[in-house]
């Protein structure tokens, strides 16, 4: 049991900051035990002074092998970008020596980022992906990692036969439980890369072993057309996933930029999560997801970097990109959907996405003690600092210092930075 002292700020509901200046946070057995304006007597307390103390942030969709080219090849649109850059570069992860080098760099940067837990894509390569899990576990990060399943429409070097894809997935799942905090997740890349046979098999294994699932949905008009051609009898992209049994466990659907109301019904009926990836959706010319609509409907929604579609690992950058892109959508596409407020985007990045991992992303009692300590950069960077409220200081941090490292980072009560 220990306590932290500082300027506490978090959200329990979307759009509403809770603050406690010079507050105390009590941590017991990896969980938040209490918040108080008074010290906890007899408890070892670390004093972070005027620094900001916030919950961990959660990245619901990130491709670990792509991190090495985040910020490169941004002149191409999704399908071209996959063929020209992403697939050939992911194929190199068959080489475990190369994978080790690339994944060490990724995990180190993720460790020092604002992300407490993440849901991560590896590649089709079982051994490289298991190695990635071991590195994340070692770094003290929590979350999910998936070996990517692909058995069609990709280069020979990044495709398995259906039988191999199923066998390798089972092999991966047998090895993965060696890790305590980083768990396996069933990961069909997306319908264009997977035959119906493979998707059915993956749905079955997810259900039998009660494993979560992650994949892509409705990212880009060209991709959606392609799915229609591949599955002319499906009513929709989401309905296709449903029919393969891929929505029967806890599921993350990345993007959902062009999702229809009928598809939202399907996701909602299964309690699926949408990983809103605003930065990636801009970079790859995909569009802007109707996040406000997701929120109004009560669909589970979190934010995601989708590196390397997104060029930054910073969840603060995702918060501001979610806001700016929602403003453009309001102005240019549909003025019935109000732009996101900072407090709403912060909620999505913390408790919104955090709930995929259990009770996480808030300072409510019993929540996982995922905690970030941030410099009050406003006091270094603006003459207005003495006049700012805590929510303003946090907004300032998000816009002005999104690439800074946290001063301290705790995941499930364990300090890892």
């Amino acid at each position: 049991m220990y306590a932290l002292k500082g300027n506490l700020i978090w959200t329990e509901e979307s759009g509403c900051f809770r603050v406690l200046e010079n507050g105390y946070l009590l941590i017991n057995d990896g969980c938040i035990a209490a918040v108080s304006s008074e010290p906890f007597a007899g408890v070892r307390t670390e004093d972070f002074g005027s620094r900001l103390i916030i919950p961990g942030l959660y990245d619901l969709h990130i491709h670990a092998p792509q991190y090495m080219f985040a910020g490169l090849f941004m002149d191409d649109e999704l399908l071209v970008w996959l063929d020209k850059h992403t697939f050939p570069l992911e194929a190199r992860f068959s080489d475990i020596i190369f994978a080790e080098k690339a994944y060490r760099a990724f995990v180190n940067d993720l460790k020092y980022s604002f992300t407490a837990r993440a849901s991560v894509f590896g590649t089709i390569h079982k051994d490289s992906t298991l190695f990635l899990m071991s590195l994340m576990e070692e770094a003290g990060l929590h979350g999910y990692v998936g070996k990517v399943s692909m058995d069609r429409n990709s280069p020979d070097s990044l495709r398995e036969t259906t039988a191999d894809a199923i066998e390798d997935e089972l092999g991966f799942l047998d090895k993965a439980p060696e890790y305590r905090n980083v768990k396996p997740i069933v990961t069909p890349r997306f319908i264009p890369s997977c035959t119906g046979e493979l998707l059915l098999a993956l749905g079955k294994v997810a259900k039998e072993r009660d494993l979560p699932v992650q994949t892509h949905l409705d990212e880009n008009p060209g991709e959606i057309e392609w799915v229609k051609e591949l599955l002319p009898d499906s009513k929709s992209y989401a309905e296709a996933y449903e029919s393969f049994g891929l929505l029967d466990t806890k599921t993350i659907m990345a993007h959902s930029v062009w999702i229809t109301e009928e598809e939202m019904d399907i996701l909602q009926s299964h309690g699926a999560y949408i990983a809103h990836s605003p930065s990636s959706n801009m970079n790859l010319s995909s569009g802007i997801a109707p996040v406000r609509r997701f929120m109004d409907r009560g669909i589970n929604t979190g934010l995601a970097t989708d590196t390397a579609g997104g060029s930054s690992l910073s969840m603060f950058r995702m918060i501001t990109d979610a806001i700016t892109s929602s403003k453009l959508r309001w102005r240019l596409v549909d003025n019935s959907l109000a732009p996101l407020k900072f407090s709403e985007a912060f909620y999505l990045a913390s408790k919104g996405g955090g709930s995929f991992f259990g009770k996480a992303g808030s300072f409510e009692e019993g929540y996982a003690a995922d905690i970030l300590v941030l410099d009050d950069v406003s006091s270094e960077m603006t003459v207005l600092a003495p006049e700012l409220s805590l929510p303003e200081k946090l907004e300032f941090y998000a816009y002005r210092a999104p690439d800074r490292r946290p001063v301290a980072k705790y995941v499930a009560g364990k300090r890892i930075v």
Copy 2:
């Protein structure tokens, strides 16, 4: 005379990088004298190794007093944001002690930014604005600074009478020539803040003294409606500026998000510049300017932060924001206007905007020796670094390290960082 050695990269035309690995740049009398793959015999040469050497970048539109709240109050749209935050905060620059503190912070950060020259708004306050000029001059920066003219539709604390506004502008112009590198620019805020009488007087003084002009145009639909109400007889917002004589000298029109083809004709016939401010236009829910159309027509165009509408001083951030917002415009508004390529956005930020200041923004002979030396961050940050071309390394820098400081910065041949 001296030379720099490193990995040179620049654009002479939009969309086309020129590169010289391990190249030499000869500087004489503040200007680029030559580029060569061989050393210049007998010339003192600074060797920057594998670092990138690029031309200076140019910020065509920035509000110095607003820098202190860049990254704050981003939940409000333009007209609300002006009334609620910007006008009251600008009013505080009547206090020269406060202004000194805020401007010192601004000029220091601008000095260490990628901006070599800028066109800057002060406030309505003559003395504070002159002080800002002195700080920029002292820092070795070049460019233009304007005392803002406003005589209507703003709070008492940020409004002059028409007579005072004219007299103060003349007083400002009489004092400003004390500075060598930082020159005055006539700066009516925008039509809603200025009576016709004031605008006419400012047009007259600009013409008589051959001074450049900067103002705002077509930023936001609400603002444009307001201008129509204020000037019901004008054919358009741009035509109104033209009729007041404000397009007869070198002019910067900030934003032009909602500009019509007829207004583009007007700007083009006068050789006016558009300061494209993508970050600000997203943050303030203004929209996305049709930059590709400006480029296709051959309208003079540069990039701008528009701090504090834009929350970053980084011209690299403006480059990537110009690209991402052009992608969204292509996808959501008009697929006849192709998204900007990195090489095109880089051109806008360097030679495109640089031409407002004369021959600047390129490594062609006779161009001002505005030069930035950048760390090759790819070699620190990605395992792919050894395989990357110079344009790829520069793209990586823009997306991954937009807030880094340059290793060295020269303006007109003088090293200031």
